[in-house]
């Protein structure tokens, strides 16, 4: 049996608070291109142009090449996506398990806000 001492309790609480803060922050910046790229890759591997078309279809956001590759660079740095080996110049990317987990957390937070907002609108 593991007993939590007071300092680890505080640490755990701190983590919860910070996670909650991160979710809230992501919700505010839900047009963040990294989130859009992750959502696009959640469906399957895609190269840059395929991602651009997909994002435009499901989010109505037309990402420029500079913005898209800025997001790809950041996501690869974080280890949330990785390139798939290919002989084509159009290199596809795949979402990693860590990236999937991150996307899930972000979307859960977003869903909570959407749910709350819609219910409040209904009762208003």
């Amino acid at each position: 049996m593991v007993l939590l001492n007071s300092s680890s309790c505080v640490k755990a609480l701190d983590t919860v608070v910070i996670t909650h803060y991160d979710i809230t922050y992501s919700v505010i910046t839900m047009s963040d291109p990294t989130l859009l790229v992750l959502a696009s890759l959640a469906e399957g591997d895609k190269h840059g142009y395929a991602m651009m078309l997909d994002i435009e279809t499901f989010a109505g956001v037309k990402l420029g090449p500079g913005t898209l590759y800025g997001a790809i660079t950041r996501l690869e740095q974080q280890g949330w996506i990785r390139p798939v080996s290919s002989t084509d110049r159009r290199r596809p990317y795949t979402i990693t398990p860590a990236g999937r987990g991150h996307l899930q957390t972000q979307l859960a937070g977003l869903q909570q806000v959407v749910k709350t907002g819609l219910s409040r609108l209904k009762h208003a």
Binding site: D14, H47, M52, P65, T73, S86
Partner: protein, 465 residues
């Protein structure tokens, strides 16, 4: 447009291009290029450069940017021209056994005294309002005369200079400088200042021709602009410190990094808020503001002892009680209800200062009070009382006995110069300052970035094939 887009891709760092260049090129082949895409690539390229630049590169680039900005900014500032005249003061009669150094020292003092008179509000307002000169015309439309006088005062310099061989019979030389946006007016103003200086010098040398003013008002009582208590700068500092402490405590409690924008920005904002609140409290009179009004008087014909006598007379119980209870003034009304008059007089004595300046023939009258208008009116009344006492006691102060410097002559060494190049802005120094500021900013950004996000690297090794 395609060529422009390809060129814009070159703005990305080489390492990044090595890793993603082919992919981005292929993407551009699919999307085609238009102005929006070029702008997006430009923005992305700059952002990527900024993220990956080394300390040296960031310092250099921001330094050069600051240099260019400083140089460009210097062209936006209106040029100021300086006109200069050089004068020399020489005693006409000097005995053989007089110490030359002592003569020089006394003449230096004389110049300083004349300078005080020349730069007095009365003297400068005459020059400013001269219809031929029309100085500070635009400022006078929107700013009170008092402020324009202060501005003019800050643009005049009177400095004693060392001339080679200026010993013995010749007295000290000095420059009169004036800085103004119009070079012709700068020159004309210096001419006026020189004329006025000579007039004042002649009046000082021959008091009998200076009229029969026993007491002259050089500076009328000032209407205070800022309270002397509380000191707003101190309040601002306290507010800023409190603001910083709040953010510091918050970050400490939340166990967050102290060296991050998340700390720095709220700290600065809270600091500014604290300073603003402190300032606001003072402006809205929520704190007990204290204002000081000051006037400058001179008694060219009086002796320091006589002036001390006059001061004593004015600070007497009778005079002060009359001032306190003067119906239009009514000083210390709250204190008068609860405290005996004697104590109120003592309070007033603490706040009223009549002090000799310079040679003891000039004196300042200053009064500190919680109402700035009453402070000014009180100084007025005290000056009137001084004048009354002067007439009553002496019926006119005796003329000073002739001294060694009773006939000092002024000699113009250099007539006011017509300025050629502007003295302000100093474009070279502005560009250099901009460069140094930019370089410092670059170094700070690079250091913070290194501490905050040490990775910042392009994942070059992540490609599997």
């Amino acid at each position: 447009m395609n060529r422009l887009a390809k060129w814009t891709m070159r703005l990305y760092p080489a390492r990044w291009r090595k890793r993603y260049g082919d992919e981005l090129d292929a993407l551009l082949a699919d999307t085609g290029a238009d102005a929006r895409i070029v702008a997006d690539l430009f923005q992305g390229g700059m952002r990527m450069q900024f993220k990956t630049w080394s300390l040296l590169k960031l310092t250099l680039v921001l330094g050069i940017a600051g240099l260019l900005l400083g140089a460009a900014g210097s062209f936006l500032i209106a040029p100021m021209y300086v006109s200069k005249a050089t004068l020399q003061m020489t005693p006409a009669q000097i005995s053989a056994n007089t110490d030359a150094a002592a003569v020089g020292n006394q003449l230096n003092e004389e110049i300083q005294l004349l300078e005080t008179t020349l730069l007095s509000r009365t003297s400068l307002s005459t020059i400013i309002q001269d219809p031929q000169l029309q100085l500070y015309r635009d400022e006078l439309k929107v700013t009170p005369l008092e402020d324009v006088i202060e501005e003019m005062k800050s643009n005049i310099r009177i400095t004693i200079i060392a001339l080679p061989g200026a010993v013995g019979r010749r007295g000290p030389a000095f420059d009169i400088l004036f800085m103004y946006p119009d070079k012709l007016k700068a020159q004309q103003t210096v001419q006026q200042l020189v004329d006025r200086f000579q007039e004042l010098s002649a009046e000082a040398a021959h008091p009998e021709v200076a009229g029969h003013h026993d007491l002259e008002v050089l500076d009328v009582p000032s209407l205070p602009v800022l309270p002397i208590y509380p000191n707003r700068h101190v309040l601002e500092l306290i507010g800023a410190a409190l603001g910083l402490s709040v953010v510091f405590a918050y970050r400490k409690l939340r166990k967050k990094k102290l060296l991050a924008w998340g700390f720095a920005i709220p700290a600065v904002l809270f600091g500014m808020l604290g300073a603003f609140l402190a300032d606001g409290a003072s402006i809205l009179d929520l704190v007990n503001n204290q204002w000081r009004s000051t006037a400058l008087m001179s008694a060219p014909n009086g002796t320091p002892e006589q002036i001390a006598q006059l001061t004593q007379e004015v600070l007497s119980r009778t005079t002060l009680s009359a001032v306190i209870q003067y119906p239009r003034l009514r000083l210390y009304p709250d204190q008068m209800k609860t405290t005996p008059l004697e104590d109120v007089i003592e309070t007033m004595k603490k706040n009223l200062a009549i002090r000799p300046v310079g040679d003891g023939r000039h004196l300042t009258v200053s009064f500190v009070y919680s109402d700035r208008f009453k402070a000014q009116r009180t100084v007025h009344m005290i000056m009137n009382r001084l004048d009354e006492a002067n007439r009553r006691l002496y019926g006119g102060l005796p003329i000073d006995p002739a001294t060694l410097f009773s006939s000092v002559k002024m000699e113009i060494l250099d007539v006011p110069s017509m300025p050629v190049t502007p003295a302000k802005p100093n474009r070279y120094s502005m560009a250099v300052t901009g460069g140094i500021a930019g370089a410092l900013a670059g170094a700070i950004i690079a250091l913070i970035r290194r501490r905050w996000r040490p990775e910042g690297d392009i994942p070059v090794d992540a490609v599997n094939g």
